[in-house]
């Protein structure tokens, strides 16, 4: 209807122009002025079609009451003109003609005379009336035409008729069609019925009585129930004149609407909201009954009066029409509401009713507002309970917050409650609904999970005083309450449940922040974790954890934190060592577990694994460094090994540099920077959801930066391989030092070895060297691959950070400049990827198969990179 108003407006303008013209020409000043005034009024107030309809029908009414007889010829002239036009088979003109006809009948009936100048129906019109070309379709067409080409229609009428007052006849009819869906059909059926009505005219009294009966749904003399027993109909053979027929039919509308509403009310419905809608309808129906009672009473007066004298007092068809006009409109709106609401539940009912609340017609608005206030009452009661107590008493599932009672306590916050979008009444914005949802959820969470009572800080709102088109104050109230509830919940999480303490604890233990503890733990579990995973016993490790806590500064930590710290061993142990299955875990309970959900903990586990592995590699490297440091002054005496030892140290330096810079990168760029951001974001979090989101974002950032996402999977794989190779390299170097140390002992005569052992030692030496050089090659190869991977992602600033750190003195950049890419690409590809057998890698290198292959493949490698190995090469050729 609102869309139509825009299109109709030009028509109104044309109408106004025409009326002014008519007023000046034909002396119908009173009518014209009245019409003009009301139209201008309408124009000033609203452009809505309903108002327009109102205005136009008022003009129509004026014509009816003060309607001067001399107007009839004018209209008839217009009809003639239109007929001429209709002959050119313009169906718009045809429709206009039909409406005109109706208008004329109305006018004629006023006078109870049927003029002889009634134009006969042209053939074209008759054709239009046949069932094949139904009038409903024509009317719809008219409607469409009006909508799209309102101005052309008015142009048409202007050209069609000579007198300027004639447009009056057309536009109201069209607007009628616009206002109610029923109208066009009724217009058509009227005409159809008129065609058939021929004989016997009942008295006005009979008609009046029948009409009052019809208002109660009871059949009378001229009315009968239709075949489907659904609707009252005028008996075709009741002998009504055409105007009578039309009038009666019009007056029977309230009855029809009443039946419709009554039927709806009597249909059983479920849900509080729907019931209160029914209740509102019933109240309205009571009003209607009162009207009927009054009319009935009037009818009795009329009965008496008829007996006495003339029809000067009491009820007449015309009076009845005037009196029932407002109630009919009211019923019409109610019936419309009932139709819209049908089959809907809960908040959707309220939304449906609210969709009429923007009606420009104050009467319509009043009806809708009343119904709406009734309908909204149960919803507001639910909101009230939810935002003050965090409880829902919603048996029928009508509230826009749904509850799932089966949710485990750990997921209360995330999964127990959800928002039903369809049930949000349209007068509550989605944003406010979200807030309402959050308030109740927070209060409920505080009660259920935090053992906190929460008293709603301010007086609750008054649902009765709400204006459904102006919900600002309600919104303000809700967002205020939301802030308070959220703040309270956040402060409970921080103060009572020490969320920050747990965050720090997790960072300290699962993200290895407590360095001395981790170091101690590492040295304690080292030997155990090198065993196959299935030989590990949880209780052994638990006692080790206990010692690590006692032996480090962790002992001063909160006992509550320490008792939550535990060992986690993967269930899957097949072919894995302890290193692969071991991790630390941190137990949390409700409500902290809302932040540290099992998924979040899984992520922590993932990060822990990487950090722990890097730490382990660092540990292995420092151990080798220590071994060398402790015997360096002795090993100096073995001249023929000095080059090997030196080379080993150079490689160690490279690996150490790699590992410590990866660690520095993880520490600063990944952990600390993310942590700083987390601290800021947690401080800014306005509600618990944001708090959780901040923490999840923190983890996501760490994952991304630590190359643990899918996007960086390749890099992660290479990184893991490098770490594995370093472990093997460390083992190989330990072996080298050990052999060298034994050699020194034999040379200095300190040895406890037998002579044959010494010979063995000499024989082993090349093999040991081989190990060292193979691991060196593997490492450098993989490192090159890693930097290659990194440079592929060089746009990512995090990767840039890492690259920058790894090549701080541009050693690798310069190296690339001077040396061609390695020749031995195929070498590594043949090799089984070291990451598959991380700890067996060291052992694998010693096997003769590998040794021989490495020996054959190592030759081209000497051209690569620094040429570290070349002196060793010469030394190897020396007879030993």
């Amino acid at each position: 209807a609102e869309v139509m108003s825009e299109a109709v407006y030009p028509v109104v303008q044309a109408l106004v122009r025409a009326t002014v013209g008519a007023g000046a020409g034909s002396g119908e000043t009173a009518v014209v002025n009245e019409a003009l005034l009301s139209l201008l009024d309408t124009r000033a107030q609203s452009r809505r079609s309903a108002d327009l309809h109102e205005a136009t029908s008022r003009i129509e009414k004026h014509c009816l009451y003060f309607g001067q007889q001399d107007k009839v010829p004018a209209i008839s002239r217009l009809s003639q003109g239109l007929l001429t036009k209709a002959k050119s088979t313009n169906s718009a003109a045809l429709v206009a003609y039909l409406d005109l006809l109706r208008q004329m009948f109305v006018l004629r009936s006023t006078r109870y005379t049927i003029g002889a100048d009634l134009p006969p129906l042209p053939a074209a019109t008759a054709a239009a009336l046949t069932p094949s070309n139904t009038l409903a379709a024509t009317a719809t067409y008219a409607l469409n035409t009006l909508g799209s080409t309102g101005s052309s229609l008015s142009t048409l009428t202007l050209t069609g008729g000579g007198a300027s007052g004639r447009e009056l006849a057309i536009t109201p009819a069209a607007a009628n069609a616009v206002a109610g869906e029923v109208a066009p059909v009724r217009v058509c059926s009227t005409v159809a019925n008129f065609q058939q009505s021929t004989v016997g005219t009942p008295t006005e009294l009979t008609m009046l009585r029948d009409i009052v009966f019809s208002m109660q749904g009871v059949a009378g003399t001229v009315t009968c129930l239709s075949e489907e027993k659904k609707e009252l109909q005028l008996k075709p053979a009741a002998g009504l004149s055409a105007p009578q027929f039309l009038m009666t039919e019009r007056l029977m509308e309230p009855g029809w609407l009443f039946r419709k509403i009554d039927e709806y009310v009597k249909t059983p419905c479920s849900g509080l909201v729907a019931k209160s809608f029914n209740c509102a309808l019933e109240t309205e129906i009571k009003e209607y009954y009162r009207l009927v009672a009054v009319l009935d009473n009037q009818l009795r007066v009329k009965d008496a009066a008829t007996a006495a004298a003339d029809a000067s007092g009491g009820l007449s068809l015309w009076r009845l029409q005037v009196w029932t006009e407002q109630p009919t409109k009211r019923l019409f709106v109610l019936a419309l509401l009932a139709d819209t609401v049908r089959g809907k539940r809960g908040g959707a009912v309220a939304s449906a009713v609210h969709s009429f609340a923007r009606h420009g017609d104050p009467h319509v608005y009043a009806v809708v507002a009343h119904v709406l206030s009734q309908v909204a009452r149960p919803i507001f009661a639910m909101i009230q309970q939810w935002v003050t107590e965090g409880e829902i008493s919603d048996l029928e599932g009508e509230f826009f917050v749904a509850v799932d009672a089966t949710v485990a306590p750990g997921r209360t916050w995330q999964d127990k409650y959800s928002l039903r979008d369809a049930m949000i009444p349209s007068f509550i914005s989605h944003q406010t609904a979200q807030k309402i949802f959050l308030i109740g959820k927070s209060i409920n969470f505080m009660k259920q999970c935090c053992q906190e009572t929460y008293h709603f800080p301010s007086v609750a709102f008054n649902a009765e005083e709400l204006d459904y088109n102006k919900m600002e104050s309600f919104d303000r109230y809700i967002s205020n309450a939301c802030d308070k509830a959220s703040n309270r919940l956040i402060s409970i999480m921080f103060d009572k449940y020490e969320l920050m303490k747990h965050c720090v604890a997790v960072k300290r233990y699962l993200l290895l922040g407590q360095g001395d503890f981790i170091q101690y733990l590492m040295s304690l579990v080292e030997s155990q974790l090198s065993q196959p995973a299935h030989t590990l016993y949880r209780h052994n490790l638990t006692s080790v954890l206990e010692s690590a806590i006692r032996g480090s500064n962790a002992q001063f930590d909160d006992p509550d934190v320490l008792k939550r710290l535990d060992i986690h061993l993967d269930k899957e142990t097949q072919g894995k060592t302890g290193w692969d299955t071991f991790s630390l875990c941190y137990a949390v309970d409700v409500p902290i577990s809302t932040v540290f959900t099992p998924e979040v903990m899984q992520t922590y586990l993932l990060i822990f694994r990487l950090l722990w592995r890097v730490k382990r590699v660092e540990h292995a490297l420092t151990t080798v460094w220590r071994t060398h440091a402790s015997c360096a002054h002795l090993l100096r005496r073995v001249q023929d090994l000095s080059a090997d030892l030196h080379g080993a140290r150079i490689l160690q330096n490279e690996m150490m540099h790699f590992v410590s810079n990866v660690q520095y990168y993880i520490m600063f760029e990944v952990l600390e920077c993310s942590w700083t951001q987390l601290e800021t974001e947690i401080r800014q979090a306005a509600d618990f959801d944001q708090l959780i989101a901040a923490h999840e974002k923190y983890l996501k950032r760490i994952l991304e930066k630590a190359l643990l996402t899918n996007a960086t999977e390749q890099m992660q794989t290479v990184l893991q391989s490098i770490l594995s190779v370093i472990i093997s390299a460390c083992a190989a170097q330990e072996n080298l030092y050990d052999t060298a140390f034994k050699l020194v002992q034999t040379q200095t005569g300190d040895s406890v070895l037998q002579e044959e052992d010494t010979v063995d030692l000499q024989q082993m030496l090349p093999e040991v060297r081989q190990q060292v050089s193979v691991t060196a090659m593997q490492y450098r190869k993989l490192f090159a691959k890693f930097t290659e991977c990194l440079s592929k992602h060089a746009i990512d600033p995090n990767i840039q950070f890492l690259m920058f750190r790894l090549d701080f003195n541009e050693y690798y950049t310069n190296q690339e400049k001077h040396v061609l890419r390695p020749v031995a690409d195929s070498y590594i590809d043949e090799e089984p990827p070291p990451e598959q057998q991380p700890d067996a890698a060291a052992a694998a290198v010693v096997s003769p198969r590998d040794t021989s292959r490495a020996a054959s493949a190592s030759k081209p490698h000497y051209t690569y990179a620094t040429g570290v190995v070349s002196p060793r090469d010469t030394s190897r050729k020396k007879p030993t």
Binding site: G515, F556, R649, Y811
Partner: protein, 471 residues
Amino acid sequence: EPRRKGHGRRERRTATRMPREIITIQAGQCGNQIGMEFWKQLCLEHGLSPDGMLTEEASAHAGGVGDRKDVFFYQADDEHYIPRAVVLDLDPHVINAIKNGAYSSFYNHENIMMPNADGAGNIWARGYSTAESVHEEIFDTIDREADNSDSLEGFVLTHSIAGGTGSGMGSYLLERLNDRYPKKLLQTYSVFPNQVESSDVVVQPYNSILTLKRLALNADCVIVIDNAALNRIASEHLLIPEPSFAQTNSLVSTVMAASTTTLRYPGYMNNDMIGLFASLIPTPRCHFLMTSYTPLSIDTKAPTSVCKTTVLSVMRRLLQPKNIMVSCPTRKQGCYISILNVIQGDVDPTQVHNSLQRIRERKLANFIPWGPASIQVALSRKSPYVKTAHRVSGLMMANHTAIASLFGKCLEHFDQLWNRKGSCPPFIEQYKKEPMFEQSLDEFENAREVVQQLVAEYRAAERPDYVTFRL
């Protein structure tokens, strides 16, 4: 599900711990002076009073403030903290001063040893042989301290290389500790004499060369403190015209305390000595580190302006030669083998990367061409008991090849003295009295060669072909 309810806390008191203890051995006048300053600084940082009790402020924090006192201290039965320190001197002067001062009850008195009250007379050989003669007594004490630790990490020796006691005794200790505790780290804070000005100890070059040999062969890490640089920093930087020993020693104690801060306030990394040095010392012989610290202040009336400290400004200043506590041309000559910056204070971790980037752009540090190297940064907490005006402070420990020039100077001075005209080198009689030099003076030649080799290795480490280096 949380486990281990109730018990635990009680057990912890008596259970073994793993502090990675460090035993400090202070030898000679200089060694004891800087040692004492170091302990004073540690007391300050851990909230300990001179008698080893917790100060009121510190006892308010029952669980500590995240610091580890047990690395350097242990607790006596009455709960007062006793330093893991062995005090050795042949001259009663300094020891008496300690015994009569505020810290009289600080050390374990059994650990204060004065085997010979005559002094070493600045003769290395005398210090060495005296130590040898009483080595049982000394090692009884050291062994006792070592047994007192659960997981001894290593020894720290504080001494000077110029005098008699610190250098001679120190040398002896280095050799013996190396044999006796091969798996333990041996770190020294070695004070190098001011080689610019003439010294009152004429035999200083002899002592230096002989000690340097042991430092090169037996120590795992030597932190070089150059008296000349200390004086320069004090006079030029802190505007103290004639700095006293106490003043320069407080500089040394600042550096010593800062270099152990990551051990005492554990964080992500560098929580033990080995983690600290393993990345700083890639090849075993190049283990002489230089340090710098900023912003420096000496708690005297000397006006020290409070400057703006950011991570970048601190890291820049640390690289400036004028702040480095060794007089050698780090900008003009040689290159850094490794750098570790320990940054303390209120630091935004994001600044670290930016600062590193800036330093690389400006090429403020020149690195080795034969391997990857970078500035490593460790962020460390600041002691809550020490209030400073500066937001950020930093310590640099660097392995720079230019340190060889210091050894070069030692060699030069040695050669000047050794090759003086005459039938035999001057002032040699005193040495000949001791067993080591009775037969021959080969030890001098030998020590010279070791130092010469050390210089050669540092020179080699400046070249890309260092990877193929062979002695």
